[in-house]
Structure formats: C-alpha cells, structure tokens
C-alpha cells in the first residue's frame, strides 16, 4: 500500500520513545563489578542490620554456583556481570527525605514523566479524581514516597524497602523470600544479593487501602543495573490496588533490570497488581541498546478465599522475560492474569504466567493478548498445574496473538499438568494478522492509518485494558498505540 509506505516513512521521522532523556545529576556509584565486597557496600550504604547482610551474602554464594538459564525463546549476547554498576544513587543526605529536600532536578524529571510527587498537585487535580500515592525509585534508591501520613492513619505501611528493613524488621524477616526464595532462579538469586530499593506495602486486617498505591521506577545512570525488590503483604480481609510504571533513557548499551516482586495475600485478602512497563526498547531500526527485563513476580494466595489479580501492559524493553504467577495455596483462592505484550522493532518478549493450584476449589483465569510487529518476537509461555489435593480446581486460558506485518513472530507455549481427576482446565488460542482488508475498511470510513491501527489494536486488547484502573487504562491505550506507530507495512 502506498498509504502504508508513506505512514511508515512519516513515523520513522518521529521520536517514538518519549521517555529517553537523561537527567544530569550528581550520582554516587559502587565500584564496577560484583563480589562479596560490593554486596557489603550496598548493605552498608543502606545502613542495614547484620541479618540482612547475611541474607544477601548467602544469596550471593548460591548465585556463584548457578548457571544463567537459556530455555526462554530469546537471544541476546552473554551478559558480563562484572561490567556493570550495582549501585547508583543521586547524591543526597542520608535517611528519608521530605519533598522539600529532594533535588529539584529529580523533581523536574518526574514532572517531565508526568508523575505527581507533590501531594497538593494530586489534590489540586480534577475534583473527584482518585488520589494515588507514589514511591519514586531512581536507579538504586527510593527518592520520595507520598501520602505516607494519610496511609499511616488507617494503618497502611507504604515505604521504600530500605526503610522497611530498618523500621519494620519483623515483617520483612517473616515475609521476604517467603514467596520467591533466594535460590528460586538465577536472576532472583542475583537480585537477593544486590537488590537496592523498591516498595514495601503492608495492609492490616480488614482495611481497604483508601487510595491506589504506585511505584515509579526510573533507570538513569549508564552501565548500571536496576535490582528492585517489592514486597506487598495484605492481611486478612484487606484490599490493595497497586501499580508500577517503568521508563529509562535511550542508551546504546544494554542494561539489566532484574527485579523480584513478592505478594502475600492472607485469608479473604485481595491484591490487584498492575504494571505498565515501558523500559527503553532499543533502537527500532538497529536493535541496539535497550533494557533486559528479567523479572520474577509471584503471588502467594496463602489464605483461604484470597484473590490476586495481575494485569500487565508490556510495551518496552529489548528483551522481556517474566511470568507473574500465583501460588493458589488457600482453599477457594483465585488468581487472574491479564496481559498485553507489544513487541515492535527488534524487541523480544517471552512472557506469561504460572497458576499453581494447591488448594481445593481454586480458580484461575488467564487472558493474554500478544501483539507482534516489525522484526520482533513475542512468546506466551504459561503453566497451569493442579496438585493432587487441588480437587475442583478450575482454569480458563485465552491466548490471542495479533501479527502486524510479515517479519514478526508469535509463539504460544502452554503447559498444563493436572494431577487429579477433578480439575477442569480450558485453553483457547487464536493467532490472527491485522489485515489490509480491515485497515482499508476502517480508513474508508474516515480514519487515517494510525487512527485505524490504534482502533483495531485497542479492540484486540479491550478485555485486558478494562482490568486496569481507569486513569491508567487511558494511558496504556495511548502507550500501545505509540509503541505500534509505523508498524504497518
């Protein structure tokens, strides 16, 4: 199509990745490379107690004995773990800061990214607009957490991981590593040794968290990795909705992001965890640079009737390797996974979920929408398993792939293991191509090419977008459209 070609040319002239700027700020680094002394350095920087340092060192010992896994359907050059900084932080005075003490350059960065850090700005928004609290993580440290007082009034703890280790050691000791053990996998083990910051949430019994909580992760420093650790504990009958967002500058070298997220839902608790991941995807024409997003996210539905829902919109990263999962331990507990994964240019994504049914009458639901464009590769990989005791377990899985163009690939790799005779697992999968016929039909009614693609793609992902909190759904919709600009041809 002539129209298609022109659009492609037009879009190539645009700057597709809108968050690629670098903040010029004084930063403090650990020496390059990784050894036990670096682990001690990070722990000391954070003023951690001895038990935490020992935990890290044990993880580091184990990591040395592990091999990097290769089973994912992704290709990338071997990572030189000695050629990166494991700690980078904006220079500032020690301890938690009030907003007035935060470097204005940092505040400007977040303003540019559209993240409200000033509580009054959130309050000054449209009347009736929901409030949400933000923990802002810049490279290795949390720079500010908002609305802490208001949350504390109802007993909700929302702070950086470093602060939680100092202020709430009993909770951290009890739950850290209880969902994702240090030795779980290569990247989780690495994270356990060198994690720098992340968010900590505790919601006490019976409390419905009065606002959305969110963490905004920003990688800024060059040649550094980000290893954040998030731990969310929702006590009996409590509820929280949490959102994370991620961006990074455009850089020619690859950067590693190996996070661990652990969720614990006790009896009758409910957690909604949403991710809008927009790490720098690398140069769309050459594939150079971009983030390696190797993340371990897992929820333990520990209590009966607990419920966890993962929603993810994955548009960024050069290579994505993540499977937000649910261990359905409590009887009648349920897990959900809603995913939109978009790959364009040279991006590779191998993502999906695991639903491990352990308790009786546990339910899970998986809706995955993969969109591949350009020369990218997009794989759904999922496991649904039922333990012999998980009588009456039910799963429904729907995996849809949409291909745009001729040079991309979509793969679906579902694993199903039912170890009792009373489980019902359903799996539906479709693969379709965005057709020239559909595009022409929509354009004939008056939409230009980009509007037409956006309309068709939004229709494709609608089921998942509906799961996001309203204000983020709108953002996510735009983000998906931007990620696919110039993809038709």
């Amino acid at each position: 199509m002539v129209a298609v070609k022109q659009t492609v040319e037009h879009v190539e002239s645009l700057e597709a990745y809108k968050h690629g700027f670098i903040t010029d700020i004084d930063q403090e680094f650990a020496p390059k490379g990784l050894n036990a002394d670096i682990v001690r350095f990070i722990s000391a920087k954070k003023d951690e107690p001895e038990w935490m340092l020992q935990w890290r060192l044990e993880a580091f010992e184990r990591w040395l004995a592990m091999e990097e896994p290769t089973w994912a359907k992704v290709n990338f050059p071997r990572i030189d773990y000695q050629d990166a900084y494991y700690y980078a932080a904006p220079k500032a005075k020690d301890g938690p800061m009030s907003l007035d003490e935060v470097d204005p350059e940092l505040l400007a960065t977040y303003a540019k990214l559209g993240i409200p850090l000033k509580e009054q700005e959130v309050l000054a928004g449209v009347q009736g607009a929901p409030k949400y609290a933000v923990d802002a993580v810049f490279d290795s440290v949390s720079v500010v957490t908002t609305f802490k007082k208001e949350l504390a009034a109802v007993g909700v703890i929302f702070c950086s991981m470093s602060e939680a280790i100092r202020e709430h050691p009993e909770l951290v000791k009890k739950y850290l590593g209880s969902v994702v053990p240090t030795s779980d996998n290569y990247f989780a083990c690495l994270n356990s040794a060198v994690f720098s910051d992340g968010s900590f949430v505790y919601v006490p019994p019976g409390v419905r968290c009065p606002m959305e909580l969110s963490t905004y992760f920003r990688i800024n420093a060059a040649e550094s990795g980000q290893f954040e650790r998030t731990l969310i504990i929702v006590d009996k009958g409590a509820y929280v909705s949490y959102l994370e967002g991620c961006t990074a500058p455009m850089r020619d070298e690859n950067q590693l992001h190996a996070a661990v997220v652990e969720l614990v839902a006790l009896e009758d608790a409910e957690i909604k965890y949403s991710t809008v991941q927009n790490w720098y995807p690398g140069d769309p024409k050459t594939g150079k640079g971009g983030i390696y997003n190797f993340v371990t996210k897992r929820a333990d539905c520990r209590g009966d009737r607990s419920k966890v829902s993962w929603t993810q919109v994955e548009t960024g990263s050069a290579v994505t390797w993540k499977y937000p999962s649910c261990v359905l331990r409590g009887n009648d507990s349920s897990g959900e996974f809603y995913s939109i994964a978009v790959t364009n240019g040279f991006q590779q994504a191998d993502t999906g979920t695991k639903m491990i049914h352990l308790g009786a009458n546990t339910k899970s639901r998986i809706i995955s929408k993969g969109i591949s464009a350009g020369k990218s590769s997009n794989t759904y990989r999922g496991l649904v398993s039922a333990h012999p005791k998980a009588k009456g377990a039910r799963n429904f899985t729907q995996c849809d792939s949409l291909l745009i163009g001729k040079d991309c690939a979509a793969h679906t790799v579902p694993y199903v293991e039912a170890r009792n005779g009373q489980s019902v697992f359903e799996h539906e999968a479709t693969t379709t191509r965005l057709s020239d016929d559909q595009l022409f039909y929509v354009m004939q009614r008056g939409l230009n090419q980009e509007e037409a693609v956006a309309l068709l793609v939004n229709g494709f992902v609608k089921d998942v977008l509906q799961q996001l909190p309203m204000e983020f759904a709108v953002e996510a919709q735009k983000l998906v459209a931007i990620s696919l600009e110039g993809s038709v041809g």
Binding site: D436, Q438, Q444, R445, L447, E451, L455, L456, F460
Partner: protein
C-alpha cells in the same frame, strides 16, 4: 458530480480497467452491471483508494476535485462512501464507538467540531429505528457474529450517519433474503438527494427492482460498452452478457 475519464488501472501489472469513462450527475442513481471479472469491484476500489490498485492513466474527480491523489480517509472526508460486498468484522470495537469515531474523524478532517454525545445518540437512535436495527446491537462489536443481512444494514446505517456525497454500493444484494433486501433498499432510497450521486454495482437485475436507477451501464472487460435507461437492465436479465463480452 462524479466524473471518470479514460481511467486505466492495474492489479499486479494486469490491466483491469481499460479506459473507462463515466459521468454521474448529482441527484442521479447509476447502475453498473456486467459479467464476473469485468472490473466492477476494481472500479469501486479504485474510486475509494484501496491499496494494490495502480492507476496508469485517466482521471476521476468528485465535484471537480481529483480523487485519485487522496488517501482513502481523505476521500471519505470528501464524501466518498463504499458499501462493501463483504463488510469486515472489527472485534472489540462496539458499532456505536466505530460510528462516532468515524463521524468525528471525518468532521475533524473537514475542520468541523466533533459532534456532542447527546446529539450523536439521538441521530443514531433515529436512523437505527428506520433500518429496524435494535439499538442494543450497536453495543456489540461491529459485524462480529452478525448475519449477512445485519451486516448490510449496518453499512446502510453508517451511510445514513456519515451522509456521504458519493455512494458506491458494491453488490449490496449479495447474501440478502427478500425481506432484508427490501429494508436495505428502502434505506438506500431514503438517501436519494439532489446533491448526492449513487453508483450501484450489481450482477443481477433484482436489486434494481428496489433501487430504480436513472441510467444503466454495462461494464465489460474494463470499459463501459453500453448505456441506457432502466430498460437496459431488463434486457440484460433476459439476454445475458454474452453479446457484450464478444463486443469488448
């Protein structure tokens, strides 16, 4: 209004339209009839700007404006509407959303304000009722799981909302039973207006019993080989296209 002069067009280097000339004045309905492979659908696609069709010679203008240089969406904003022989399914996009998005896109392209939601809903309710379309159906994804007749009615509804200047109906009768044909034809007839031209492309005469053309043209091997009044359609029905196939 629509003026086509010596139009030549190819698909994958194969020439389909071989010097087609046709004028449709405002307020008139012209039928294009012809055997399979004559170039009927190609004509509708070339006029509406579908990719893959290369115009090698000639011109096509609407009210004096060159259509061929425009993108499909620009032509739509100028008032070109093609009712598809096989309307496409658009999963996840409710018909109502689709209608409003299309109408606003066209208005924007013409430099007009977007239509307000209450006015839009009133308009849709009114037009849907005329076409006997249940309003709840408009909350479903466009054309997904619709019957052939429902899809064609949705095409006419889009037409009624978008109020185009040039209507091209491509084999609108295909797949319609007699009741659906009547409803669709009434919808099309309601669109007749002094400032609007219609091009009705059909293989069979039966549609023309319902939509009475002012002129009938026979398209064969990429050219108009005969033109006449409505009686020409009846003659074709009786005698077939053989004589024109050899004349071409």
């Amino acid at each position: 209004m629509l003026s086509i002069n010596n139009l030549r067009a190819s698909v994958e280097d194969k020439e389909i339209l071989k010097g087609l000339t046709l004028d449709v004045p405002a307020g008139e309905v012209h039928a294009i009839m012809g055997p399979n492979g004559a170039g009927k659908s190609t004509l509708s696609y070339v006029l509406s700007g579908r990719g893959g069709y290369e115009v090698t010679d000639g011109s096509a203008t609407l009210n004096g404006e060159d259509l061929l240089a425009l993108e499909p969406d620009e032509r739509a904003a100028k008032g070109v509407f093609l009712s598809f022989q096989y309307p496409l399914e658009i999963p996840g996009v409710p018909a109502l959303t689709f209608l409003r998005t299309a109408l606003n896109a066209q208005r924007k392209a013409r430099g007009e304000d977007e239509i307000a939601a209450p006015a839009f809903l009133k308009l849709v309710r009114e037009k849907a009722a005329e076409l006997k379309i249940d309003f709840d159906m408009l909350k479903r994804s466009l054309n997904v799981g619709f019957s052939g007749g429902e899809k064609k009615r949705m095409e006419i509804l889009q037409m009624a909302i978008l109020q185009p200047k040039l209507l091209i109906l491509d084999e609108t009768d295909s797949g319609l039973d007699i009741d659906a044909l009547r409803i669709v034809s009434e919808g099309v007839n309601a669109m007749r207006a002094p400032d609007r031209a219609m091009l009705v492309i059909t293989h069979y005469q039966r549609l023309l019993d319902h939509i009475k053309p002012d002129r009938v043209h026979v398209l064969s091997a990429g050219r108009i080989v005969a033109s006449g009044g409505p009686e020409l359609a009846l003659q074709l029905e009786a005698e077939g296209y053989d004589k024109y196939a050899s004349a071409a």
